[in-house]
Subunit: 447 residues, 3 copies
């Protein structure tokens, strides 16, 4: 009686036996690819993800107007390096795709170090790390390098060679939709535009892909839409093409930096009190509560989803928050930072979130005058007088007390301080006993 | 001018000269009786209380359906003990009525210790104390004993003798109603079903009985209803028979464990913002503020009164909260734990609560444009320029400032941080000066 | 890009080059005058202020009924001293006007020390300071003196001479009104009734006078009304004569004790959430945030303006709060306590407050779906990938995100935690770019 049996609702909670290992293997395959906001890297990435789940790949032609923006030209990179006049290679894209500023235009020119310097990016405070830089919306070129190597550059001429193409083509993004039994949707997105940065965001791509695979194998109340799109312009392309769908989205998460040991950290939606915001108060990751941050308009694609013209219920879920961990946007965001057990605990946190969304309902106490006699239904200790009562008895009492048609299970879990799973279990037992009716599914509530 | 004279409103605040002594004497008379949820012990207890105040004794026949429950059979206990085969008594109900599990069915049988053990209840962590246990709603029997004595039991056969009767009869509860000058009511309840436990709840029975005696001797705005009923089933019996009265209850308290040195602790009503909840912020007990706890659905009969079908404005008032003090539900909850001065300070706290309920009103400033000239009415220091002003001057200023018809005296006390008694005194003086009118009595406000 | 250029809106923020010096010089001229709630001192003071700004001087005859009050007689003081029987002067009004209790009636009489003592006021804890005392509304007389001197008084007879007149005349106050481009008004008041107390309130008179001069030199959205009136009765006279204007007052401040090194401290209006209350969260004084106090009905003329019959949006702005600094209402509140730099920083804080009131508006994002592309407008860093973004970029993003027609610039500054000036600058730039329209002027909002 004192132990809380868990709900056996057919949900596969754990995924495969070695979930962490499979997630890390997928991150490892994605890591080496040179992604950018357009180009072959995105397509290669989607091809790998498609091995796990059927993905619709969308192509949006260069020059397409998208709200205040225009889809940029497609960028192709083949090779890039800097050589001394004597032919020694001092920076080489082949060593790390971070070395080349993303979207660099083609260059083949000799120039003195004094001129080259304006195109070299380093991190003086982290001299052994290569930074990550982009120049998406202004024609430019540059290299990123270790500050230690930068300091060792000798005066003289250097041969700069960047073999890239910027030409009309298209922007690519991937979309997965798993229909639910209702018309309401959950949107889960991860950006796909970063090159060899493992946490930001191979981790998000891997976690959402295997999550989609898991959800595809069962029936869900909500439809689940997964979006793997380049940051900003990719999200805007999807928004522009799906304005009629937005009213159907009840809950949404942007997922990034989900594979390191930190956090979890959640940034609330612009609304601040959406159900997805409240769910986060009730989940744990690796035993830890979620650190809650208020919305701010800087970050990932929640910036677009939460712009005033959309104002969707979208939060940002991370382990360590972007910009706060030393490896962020450097060559140290690698396969050592992202670990199998962190990926697995993040995955489980998201399945716990989804369990709440899927299973929340609004109970109605059918015996609301006084407590019903739980003892004769085997739901209450037969011997009285003990100092305290068990968690599961408290769950029965809380559910009965708040089951007045104005509280869903998540509300009851929040107010009682008990885990959602205990409240859901208690509500289920009480319903089986005929003590509770269903006022409504939370999927139909406008909260 | 700087001292705050107290209201002289004819209310007898202190009760008898040796209030604490009289309360403790009453607790001492109630203590030895073997009460349970039905049976002669409840009737004996009500007979003693009736020496102080006229109590209507209600009998509800066994088998009566009450919401989801049924009134159980009446339990009569005459004797109970355990003897060794050699005739030595090792546990004896005559020594302490806690030794017998309440509602034990009759037994007269020899059995080996190995079989007896399943019926013995002890507290391994408090080896010198007898626990209190019940088995109200499942036919069973058992003995409670000191763990030290339990360990000393030798192997062998024991003669178990429980001379009890479980037979149709009735459940007994007592009710006192003191009409007020309005139709609104205050409900005060204490459970009457515990055997020799002094704090839980001879203390509550004694305090409410002498309180009823005091209130019977004066005119009150509210009607006061006192309920001395067995826990759960007694409260449900009263609720079932009085559903039409419930809408008339403006404020209510469950009172228990009110005689020890701890607290005071108040658990808010399910509503959380009822006036009774707010009153508690403004009273003190033995100079201490009340520790405020949020509602939870475990405890005493507030569980029934605050069930969603009733949702009455009922809070739980205690000194030490149940389950938190080491003597709780053991033989150490005795006449040493409950002391005359604690009983007296608890009594005074409740009279302070009642004073607020009785005297709160909503003042209306009749000179609302600017401050009225208090000086020429003798309500303000004639000499100006001092660094600070007195509490009573602040009380005048606060009352005048907030007397816009939307604040009662309790609201003004809360916002100003001044004692209710000072605010009430100031309002009274200002009314006498013609500066305040009465917008309404708080007894007529729906808050 | 990372630096925030300040708004160049033509507002003269600093006043004259040596603002602090000019303010202190004005305080110094006002300091010696013996002001009271009526009499020549007030007229002399207004005459000096009129050298800087055109002031309408109002005279209200003695005996005029004003709400619950009556305008008192006019008090004229020529001379006052106490002499020993041997002719030695022990207290002399000519040394400090604090020596005479304000409104003392005329006296010319010899009396023993034992009788005199009842009329002597001292500060035993501050034996070297002369206290400030008044007896406005009860006929009385008295002297204030250093406790050290009081202790040195020898037994014997003393000659008390107070050459004052209490006779019908009038109460005097000054008013300045600077019309705005709208019908809405800001009311700024300072009490003018204290004698030689520099901080309380020569400081307030000087700061508001030079502020009026500054505002007179430019066009403002709001009309600005300045009131220099005796405490309580002066404010009531103005209120009684201007009841029809009160609905036009959107924001108001009582200004006192504004020249010392402490604070700033702001006491909220009775409403508690007026725009003037919220503005204070966003300004700084000498780099320090404003300490916010809740309204209480004791203080300066906010007591009258915030009485329930008016309930105007009036807060009290001070450096050190009255009654909390040791020099308060003593001879130590002198020209050393009030310093030029403190006066100047207070002046600038008030101009910052006025800037917010004048320049707040409600922006509407004209490109609300997703973020507009700031980079091509030169409003966003061309190179991406940095760990953090600049304050001004954050200001652009916050303004765009909250520009949904329900947030003014002040709201956006509060929610973002960024300075109002940055938000105002960003909004201005965005409007110039055509990204923002004006939903409305905050001057037209009912908040």
């Amino acid at each position: 009686m004192n132990e809380v049996p868990r709900v056996d609702d057919g949900i596969v909670r754990e995924g495969p036996a070695d979930l962490g290992g499979e997630l890390h293997a997928l991150v490892s395959r994605l890591f080496p690819i040179c992604r950018s906001i357009t180009g072959e890297g995105v397509r290669e990435t989607l091809a790998i993800l498609s091995e796990h789940i059927d993905i619709a790949v969308r192509e949006v032609p260069s020059g397409t107007p998208v709200f205040d923006w225009t889809v940029p030209q497609e960028w192709t990179v083949r090779n890039a390096h800097i050589r001394t006049a004597s032919g020694r290679v001092v920076v080489d894209f082949a060593q790390s795709n971070l070395h080349l500023v993303s979207y660099s235009e083609p260059v083949a020119r000799r120039m003195p170090l004094s001129e080259l310097r304006a195109h070299l990016h380093t991190l003086p405070d982290q001299p052994d790390l290569i930074p990550y830089r982009t120049s998406y919306y202004r024609r430019d070129w540059g290299f990123c390098m270790r500050h230690r190597d930068y300091l060792a550059l000798e005066e003289g001429d250097y041969d700069v060679f960047i073999d890239t193409t910027l030409a009309d083509g298209s922007l690519t993004y991937g979309e997965v939709f798993l229909p639910g039994t209702t018309e309401r949707e959950v949107l889960l997105t991860a950006h796909i535009c970063h090159p060899s940065l493992a946490n930001d965001n191979c981790s998000g791509l891997a976690v959402l892909t295997l999550l989609a695979r898991m959800l595809a194998g069962r029936q869900n109340r909500y439809g689940y839409r997964f979006l793997f799109a380049p940051g900003t312009i990719g999200a805007l392309c999807w928004l522009a093409g799906n304005e009629d769908r937005l009213a159907g989205i009840d809950h949404s998460l942007v997922v990034s930096c989900i594979g390191d040991a930190g956090g979890p950290v959640y940034k609330r939606s612009r609304r601040g009190d959406a159900m997805i915001d409240r769910v986060m108060e009730s989940v744990r990751c690796a035993g830890r509560k979620v650190t809650m941050l208020d919305f701010s308009p800087y970050g990932y694609d929640e910036r677009q989803f939460c712009s005033p013209g959309f104002n969707l219920p979208v939060g940002l879920l991370q382990r360590s928050a972007f910009g706060t961990f030393p490896e962020y946007h450097t060559s140290a965001d690698n396969l050592d930072l992202v670990r199998p057990d962190h990926l697995a605990s993040s995955f489980r946190m998201i399945t716990d979130i989804i369990d709440i969304l899927e299973t929340d309902w609004v109970p109605l106490n059918l015996s609301p005058k006084g407590e019903p006699q739980l003892g004769r239904r085997g739901l209450y200790s037969a011997t009285g007088g003990h100092k305290t009562t068990s968690d599961i008895t408290m769950a029965y009492l809380w559910v009965l007390n708040l089951a007045d048609g104005s509280h869903g299970l998540l509300d009851i879990a929040s107010r009682s301080g008990l885990p959602f799973a205990d409240i859901a279990y208690a509500a289920d037992r009480l319903k089986q006993c005929g003590l509770l009716g269903k006022a409504e599914d939370s999927v139909n509530r406008q909260t």
